[in-house]
């Protein structure tokens, strides 16, 4: 390099500034944006959340307002999604039902993910408690779910209702019951991945540095088992929404005048041949929400992996 001014390469090198370390979340977001399905899914999910949060304030017909003369109507301006056999507005029911269904789905998923990941990571990482925790997991897998749910709900429904009011009490109960009975698959998958990960040399390297176990798990183990956790999470929301509707159907969930998507779907099945639209709306809402969450999870999983995340 004789003369910087006549040598473009030299000049660029001379003014090259060392990049500051930037948060990897910007890289993650940049990659997430390139995944079309994920962006669409995110947009749809945000839209649904906005609808169920803001919608009831704009669409002022009460979901349980009975107008028997307007029963079993089709789509119209007054009732965009029609009405049911008691003349209740389906759109209003969908909006307030979505609130409950989404809340149950997200919270139950979070709970089952938390328990599953915790048990899986502890069992995989600490050899001493592995056997105990995995037998515990097997125990939960072997439990007959329905009788268990019946017993739990029989035992605790009235106590919780008295303590938190009928709706919150049932909400807590259902979220707890769904969360506590669906963490086992996550735990098993995570444990397997942690076991494989523990043999990697970078974990040994971290130990030679003196990284204590809790930071080892947070820094080295958890980010590397993100993919299976993501998949479990996206499947978990769908699973929770559907389980909630099944529980409501059995009369174990929310009271019958309290709409949720699953409840609406089951109430409509009797009228399916006469008014197919009534089944289609809640079905569509559940399927599209689950689909959007799946796409989001897919995009997020790709975005979190630096090997897939191109520069």
């Amino acid at each position: 390099m004789t003369d910087l001014n006549t040598n473009p390469i030299g000049e660029i090198e001379a003014i090259a500034v060392v990049e500051d370390p930037r948060s990897q979340w910007w890289d993650v977001w940049d990659q997430f944006k390139t995944h079309k399905g994920a962006v669409l899914g995110l947009a749809f999910f945000v839209l649904v959340i906005l609808l169920v949060l803001v919608g009831p304030h704009l669409w002022t017909i009460a979901p349980n307002h009975i107008d028997i003369r307007a029963k079993n109507q089709g789509m119209s301006l007054a009732h965009p999604m029609g009405t049911d056999q008691l003349g209740r507005d389906t759109f209003a029911q969908m909006l307030s039902g979505g609130r409950v269904s989404l809340a149950v789905g997200v919270v139950a998923m979070a709970l089952s993910l938390f328990v599953g990941t915790l048990v899986g990571v502890l069992a995989g990482y600490f050899r001493r408690i592995d056997g105990l925790l995995m037998r515990f997991t097997d125990l939960f897998l072997a439990l007959p779910l329905l009788p268990l749910l019946l017993v739990i709900i029989m035992l605790f429904r009235d106590t919780l209702r008295a303590a938190f009011g009928p709706e919150t009490g049932i909400f807590i109960l259902i979220v707890f019951v769904i969360g506590i009975t669906s963490w086992m698959q996550t735990a098993r998958i995570v444990r397997g991945d942690v076991l494989a990960l523990k043999q990697q040399e970078f974990v040994l390297a971290a130990r030679s540095i003196g990284t204590p176990p809790h930071r080892m798990i947070l820094r080295h183990v958890l980010p590397n088992v993100m993919s299976p956790i993501m998949v479990s999470a996206t499947l978990g929301i769908a699973n929770a929404i559907i389980t909630e509707s099944a529980l409501s159907f059995l009369g174990l969930g929310f009271p019958s005048d309290f709409p949720t998507w699953g409840r609406l779907l089951f109430d409509s099945t009797n009228f399916m041949s006469l008014h197919p639209a009534r089944v289609i709306w809640p079905g569509l809402a559940i399927s599209l929400t689950v689909l959007s969450v799946n796409y989001m999870g897919d995009g997020l999983r790709d975005a979190l992996d630096p090997r897939i995340r191109g520069r």
Partner: protein, 327 residues
């Protein structure tokens, strides 16, 4: 031991690393793999001790046990006067900065989800409280020291070649200014052209920072080039320990002789006259070592006493150590 004013930085005495074997429905312990079975040596400050031997002889286990990545079965390890063989928890953690390790597989030894800067800064985060800027300054300093472009700080390990990854691993090992570094076959996974670069880098760093190396390798020529003294391991035991020139010029132990006879000669005329000592049979299982000398099942010069008594690891007049009944 050798009383010529050199200060031993690392003292290993009768180090044993046995891994239990569990079998059956009840997972009962039915035996143990004696990966390292009573080794003793000193490493002097500023020198490179080469540790050679065939696959499975316990070289890597020894290296890891010395850094206390395993809970050792028995023995003493002292580094710079601190006895660490049976320390645990915080006491051990405080001494970690003194001793670091460079790993064999540069692909596997770097967390794929962390940036280069985060990987090199991890030891700093664990043991020092630096401001953000001071930390980045130190990371850049280390990247300069190992010959990495500063612009790579935000990249991820998969974007690098093997040699560059090994440089990242070396930078991480240097971050806390250690005195003693265990190099666990650091060049075995690299191309030959890159091997020379990394070895030269290790030599430069040793000179610059006054490092002491335990260089574990099965590449006898590389160890000859790099090491001040060389220890030869066979089935969990050190059979011979001597100055590099002594060991390569005049091996005393029959196993060392056999091992060295396997090194190819670059000169074709000499290569044709090279006499290889071919050992009979296989290495016995470390879970069931033979009675007496570990090498007695394959030794070309085996005697009766070898099958009964384990030879003592003793010092000869010229300062070297050999464990053999012939001496």
């Amino acid at each position: 031991m050798l009383d010529d004013g050199k200060r031993p930085l690392v003292r290993v005495r009768n180090l044993k690393m046995h891994f239990p074997i569990y079998r059956g429905v009840m997972r009962r312990q039915v035996g143990e793999v004696r990966a390292v079975d009573g080794i003793s040596f000193d490493i002097y400050a500023g020198e490179t001790l080469g540790l050679v031997g065939e696959s499975g002889c316990g070289k890597s286990s020894a290296g890891r046990a010395i850094l206390r990545l395993y809970d050792v079965t028995d023995g003493e390890i002292s580094i710079d006067g601190n006895e660490i063989a049976h320390l645990a928890g915080d006491e051990l953690r405080r001494l970690r900065p003194e001793m670091q390790m460079i790993f064999q597989d540069p692909q596997a030894s770097l967390n794929p989800r962390m940036t280069v800067a985060a990987i090199i800064a991890e030891p700093l985060d664990e043991h020092q409280t630096l401001s953000r800027n001071a930390r980045m300054e130190r990371v850049f300093e280390l990247m300069d020291a190992v010959g990495l472009n500063r612009n790579f700080a935000n990249r991820y390990p998969h974007e690098f070649s093997g040699g560059q990854r090994q440089r990242i691993g070396i930078a991480r090992a240097l971050a806390l200014n250690p005195k003693f570094i265990v190099c666990d076959e650091p060049i075995a996974a690299l191309d030959v052209s890159i091997q020379a670069q990394v070895v030269n880098l290790l030599e430069d760093l040793q000179e610059k920072f006054g490092l002491t190396y335990l260089f574990i390798s099965h590449d006898l020529s590389m160890v000859r080039h790099l090491a001040t003294r060389v220890a030869v391991m066979y089935l969990g035991k050190v059979v011979e320990l001597a100055d590099s020139a002594q060991l390569y010029g005049d091996p005393k132990h029959p196993y060392t002789e056999a091992l060295l006879s396997a090194v190819p000669e670059p000169d074709p005329t000499l290569e044709n006259t090279r006499e290889r000592i071919i050992l009979e049979g296989d290495v016995p299982s470390p879970s069931d070592p033979p009675e007496g000398c570990n090498f007695c099942t394959r030794c070309p010069r085996v005697m009766d006493i070898c099958r009964r008594e384990s030879p003592e690891f003793k010092q000869l007049e010229d300062g070297r150590f050999v464990a053999c009944h012939l001496m």
